[in-house]
């Protein structure tokens, strides 16, 4: 156990929908510079946990802490203000708008001086330049920031969504099944991109159904079952079948034994 503090954590989250308990005292923690994957069967509480962490819903009980301080997100806007960006599986981009407009959507840059202040004129050149620089940093190859997003492939479109999250996320990014709608080659592009985002120092929470991808990309893997965190493993300590066994309940895991508190990259 290292003394590193989690950047983002949750304790004892409970969310009920009538008789159904979606979260039953779930815990969660994310450390700096890591990709934390969250896996679990359908109904294990993955989506509910993510919604609670991203402000899309409010848990009935439990606490969420960002940098050790308790936070209450009443909406995704609150979470975004706190520096948490979310990427969704269903390509949340505006297809008719160009790439730069999508990157800056809702955060448009205005011209300096009276034109920007009084007339609120957009600084399109600055936005295109900045978006192009950001894309170059992330090694996403596209022809022009002025082309509409609908002219891009599915992988490139999701690349736009990931790039937008990476640009604005001050603290961390949540990727909710970011490759679920993509083909094999495009999935590869997006996975590489997510790794580069992490390498640039932004911690990432990755929700995915795809075990090989999870084991390839994640530094730690949080396994959800019946609304709880039942284990945290790493690709080094557990094999894929072992993780699936914990996920499905075939292996009863002693939480403390399988809990890995540090990122493997640090401990190696």
């Amino acid at each position: 156990m290292s003394g590193r503090q989690p950047i983002f954590e949750a304790h004892g989250l409970v969310k009920r929908y009538g008789q159904v308990v979606a979260l039953d005292g779930a815990d969660f923690d994310l450390f700096p510079d890591e990709i934390l994957a969250i896996i679990g069967d359908n109904g294990a509480g993955k989506s509910t946990l993510i919604k609670a962490l991203s402000g899309a819903l409010q848990p009935d009980e439990g606490e969420i802490r960002l940098d050790g301080k308790q936070v209450h997100f009443r909406s995704p806007r609150d979470a975004r203000r706190a520096g948490i960006e979310t990427v969704y599986q269903d390509l949340a981009v505006a297809p008719a708008l160009d790439i730069a407009s999508n990157i800056f959507l809702g955060r448009e840059a205005r011209r300096r001086g009276p034109l920007g202040l009084a007339l609120r004129i957009l600084d399109k050149r600055a936005m295109r330049r900045e978006a192009a620089r950001h894309f170059a940093d992330l090694k996403i190859g596209v022809q022009s920031m002025a082309q509409p997003v609908e002219n891009l492939s599915g992988g490139q479109r999701q690349g736009v969504a990931v790039a937008r999250a990476a640009k604005w996320a001050q603290r961390l990014a949540i990727m909710d099944e970011p490759t679920a709608a993509l083909g094999v080659k495009e999935t590869r592009q997006v996975l590489d991109l997510i790794r580069r985002v992490r390498d640039r120092g932004l911690p990432v929470i990755l929700i995915s159904h795809d075990m090989p991808h999870v084991f390839e990309l994640a530094d730690r893997i949080q396994i959800m079952r019946l609304g709880r965190r039942v284990a945290v493993v790493t690709p080094h300590t557990h094999t894929m079948p072992e993780a699936v066994a914990i996920m499905t309940g075939a292996t009863k895991s002693e939480l403390d034994r399988t809990l890995v508190r540090d990122t493997p990259r640090e401990s190696q």
Partner: protein, 335 residues
Amino acid sequence: MSTVDTTSAEQPRATPLQLLRRIATAPAVGPLIALLLTMAFFSLKSDRFLQTQNLSLVLQQVMVVGVLAIGQTFVILTAGIDLSCGTVMAFGQIVMTKLAVASGVPPLQALLLGILACVGFGMLNGSLVAGLRLPAFIVTLGTLNIAFALTHIVSNDLTFSGLPSELLFFGRTFTLGGADFTYGVVMMLVLYALAWFGLSQTAWGRHVYAVGDNPEAARLTGINTRRVLFSVYTLAGLTYGIAALLLVGRTELGDPNAGQTTENLDAITAVVLGGTSLFGGRGTVIGTLIGAVIVGVFRNGLTLIGVEVIYQYLVTGILVILAVAVDQLTHRRRL
């Protein structure tokens, strides 16, 4: 993916062929070609069509529908529709003329109150669509009837004439290069310039497009989509109020039967002919201006070659369906 190619923001200098392609695919080019073809057709059918006096008449006939179509463009860009535009304008027109003529309200105040009545209808539409999330089609079908009824109730089915000169300003003409222009036409062009500016040069414009294009994505990026929708319907109401003022200037009457038959469909037709997609998120006001002129040219040309009014309805009806069909086939969602 891992290769970085030309990510420079600066557009590389376009070759003539690329330039040609860019021009050919620019949003307003299709409507412009349609307009030129229409004008060519009518100039072959009638010698009078291309005469300066006739063309300036077309513009005067276009100004009311042209201004209505600006508000309609805002609404359709958000994937909505405003069926109430014509009757709301009619109501505004009755409010301003009745107040000025029959109620002794000072002309400028009467004028402003008439415009405000239209803004009020816009806010009502906006609250119902954005706040209660009711479908725009049904909401505006309702307000169409409410405005229609109020127009007849308030006017008592009377026509108001003998209007003060303040209300007639936009019908006045000036001569430029041998052609007569009304100040209303100038007003229309100014409003188009403002709408172009708002839609293409400001963050608000971006948000209007985004809300129509992918409302969920717009919401998730933190855009207050309800506020955008409300502002769109309210501004649309404002343009209907100004259209009412232009209508009064042109007809020099407050007529309870004005604006209730052709203007609604003509405004929507103008927007769709102008290349704005009924699915939202795509289109320009420049296209709408061209679309409005196409509608005006059709009405004028059909009259010139002696087609009865009832057949003009027939043609406009076919025209709008054709334009929507083209929109369907070209803009079908690719996501």
